[in-house]
């Protein structure tokens, strides 16, 4: 871990207008929770939709996608990556530092509104569970999307396909797919702590943890390997 890389990454990330895209989604989450409370419906009816499908299923991955694909991807796009690459730093150090910032930012950006929504829904346990779910989910998602930003030219498109088609569509039709869905890992982990009827978990906690850990490991390994032999093209003539 390298604090200089981390602070530069954080400044680059938070100084961009792109970061403003993170603001509306949490507001929608909190708004919907308020509406859910005011309708007086059973929380078990709307809870899974708001916290599971929207919170951990859409807001978390989208935030992680924006952040995870930016921490290294933007530097590759604008060419400032050469400054980092021409330093005697182990490539794993660069990847881990970037991932750490992405993880932290995503966790704060999603964990805080999820906790607020959980508290509004009336349960501290739910709030705690959601934060833990966000913590685990954002690590797995960010690893995945950070690796994608190095391995593909269109990380956001590929990331969206994974989130929308794999996690939110295919899961409904093919049962085994859910094992490889970070959304399911996050939800399972959250509910293991929250024990709430407002979350629908479908995996065993052990499976969720192991597969999420594999996601993280593969993401870090893929990103580091790719960065190690990162060839500067485009400008070359």
């Amino acid at each position: 871990m390298n604090t200089t890389v981390m602070s530069l990454t954080a400044r680059a990330l938070l100084g961009r207008r792109r970061v403003l895209m993170l603001i509306p989604m949490p507001l929608v989450l909190i708004g919907l929770t308020l509406i859910g409370i005011m309708t007086g419906e059973e929380p078990a009816h709307w809870g899974p939709v708001v916290f599971g499908n929207l919170g951990l299923g859409v807001i978390l991955p989208l935030t992680a996608l924006i952040v995870g694909s930016s921490v290294l991807g933007l530097e590759i796009d604008d060419g400032t990556i050469t400054h980092l690459l021409t330093k005697p730093l182990p490539r794993s150090e660069i990847v881990l530092s970037k991932l750490c910032v992405a993880w932290l930012v995503t966790t704060v950006a999603t964990g805080v509104p999820l906790a607020v929504a959980g508290l509004i829904a009336g349960s501290a346990a739910l709030a705690g569970g959601l934060v833990c779910g966000a913590l685990l989910g954002s690590l797995a998602y960010c690893s995945l999307f950070l690796a994608l930003s190095l391995l593909t030219k269109r990380p956001v498109a590929v990331g969206l396909v994974y989130i929308m088609l794999w996690e939110n569509l295919l899961v409904n039709f093919v049962d085994g797919v859910r094992v490889f869905s970070v959304k399911q890992h996050a939800t399972t982990f959250a509910n293991a702590i929250a024990q709430s009827d407002m979350l629908d978990d479908t995996l065993s906690v052990t499976t969720a943890m192991i597969v999420a850990a594999i996601f993280v490991a593969v993401g870090i390994y893929g990103a580091t390997t790719k960065l190690r032999s990162f060839a500067l093209t485009g400008e070359a003539n």
Binding site: T4, D78, H83, T86, P88, A231, T233, E235, A236, N237
Partner: protein, 303 residues
């Protein structure tokens, strides 16, 4: 002393060969990498800087491979052509961050020294996005110099600089070369290389076309006949006057267009206006027909 060595190095992108079987050694001092646009200069520099893998052959810095070896950056500094700097940082923050990334024992002192070398101290606390092109360039040089590298590679360092900034940068490169560093800079402008460097490596179409003392290469270039297209009030009469000159090797008059091949460029250039005036002919245009660098280089390659 650290030398940069390419041994039978080639690099291709798909079907396009960017660098073709180049063998060269760059030692201490100032060396110019000269070539027309698209000749492969950037590819050569990126190969040396370990940012590209050679498709064939080897590239070493001080005997160690450049590719997949981050340790070479302890002795190597690179200033890319692309003006990619994080504009939200100040020069001080940027150079200091570079020093920290190099894990120098005293990053602040190193950053101060580097900014002093490029004389950027007075503006060092302003955001880089507010700088002129020359200031950005100097800031990037400072960042590349902060760890006191033995090898410095600069890709088109004079692009977009005004004459004063150019002069400043030239002095800087000279000074650093005298300190015993290996400095290689690329350029597509012959005069820049001439003013700066005794040794040149000429790259044309991905191949090493010439290598060695610039005076020799320059002579090869100036000895070739220069072709001019001339417009005047009386082309036919001017043609007869010019063919009588020692410095003119051939004159052609096609459809009223006058083309002159000058064997001695300097004498011809000095004599032309006087001759025209003495004969009462008014010159309305003189265009060098083959002054493009590509032509110069192709001549060089042909010899």
């Amino acid at each position: 002393m650290t030398a940069v060595e390419l041994t039978e190095a080639s690099r291709w992108y798909g079907n396009v060969v960017a660098v073709n079987d180049v063998t060269l050694t760059v030692g201490p001092g100032l060396t110019g990498l000269l070539g027309p646009n698209g000749a492969g200069k950037t590819t050569v520099l990126h190969l040396m800087a370990g940012l590209l893998s050679p498709s064939q052959g080897t590239v070493t810095i001080g005997g160690k491979p450049a590719w997949r070896n981050p340790d070479v950056y302890r002795t190597l500094g690179l200033v890319t052509e692309r003006e990619s700097v994080p504009g939200f940082l100040t020069a001080w923050e940027f150079v200091l961050a570079s020093a920290k990334l190099h894990k120098l024992p005293d990053p602040a002192a190193a950053a101060r020294t580097a900014l002093g070398i490029v004389e950027m101290e007075s503006a060092q606390d302003r955001a880089i996005s507010t700088y002129s092109k020359g200031m950005r360039q100097r800031t990037r040089v400072a960042a590349a110099l902060v760890h006191d590298p033995g090898v410095l590679l600069l890709d088109e360092p004079f692009n977009g600089m005004d004459p004063r900034q150019r002069l400043h940068m030239m002095e800087l490169l000279h000074r650093m070369a005298e300190e015993g560093r290996t400095i290689l800079f690329s350029s597509h402008i012959l005069e820049e290389v001439e003013q700066l460097s005794g040794t040149v490596q000429v790259i044309v179409a991905g191949r090493l076309a010439a290598s060695g003392d610039y005076r020799h290469i320059r002579r090869l270039m100036t000895n070739r006949p220069h072709v001019f297209t001339i417009e005047s009030s009386d082309n036919r009469r001017l043609a007869t006057v010019l063919i009588g000159q020692e410095s003119v090797s051939a004159v052609t008059l096609t459809d009223g267009t006058l083309q002159v091949h000058a064997s001695d460029y300097g004498t011809f250039a000095r004599a032309l206006a006087k001759l025209a005036k003495a004969s009462g002919i008014r010159l309305t245009g003189i265009l060098p027909a083959d002054e493009s660098l590509e032509k110069v280089f192709s001549y060089l390659v042909a010899t």
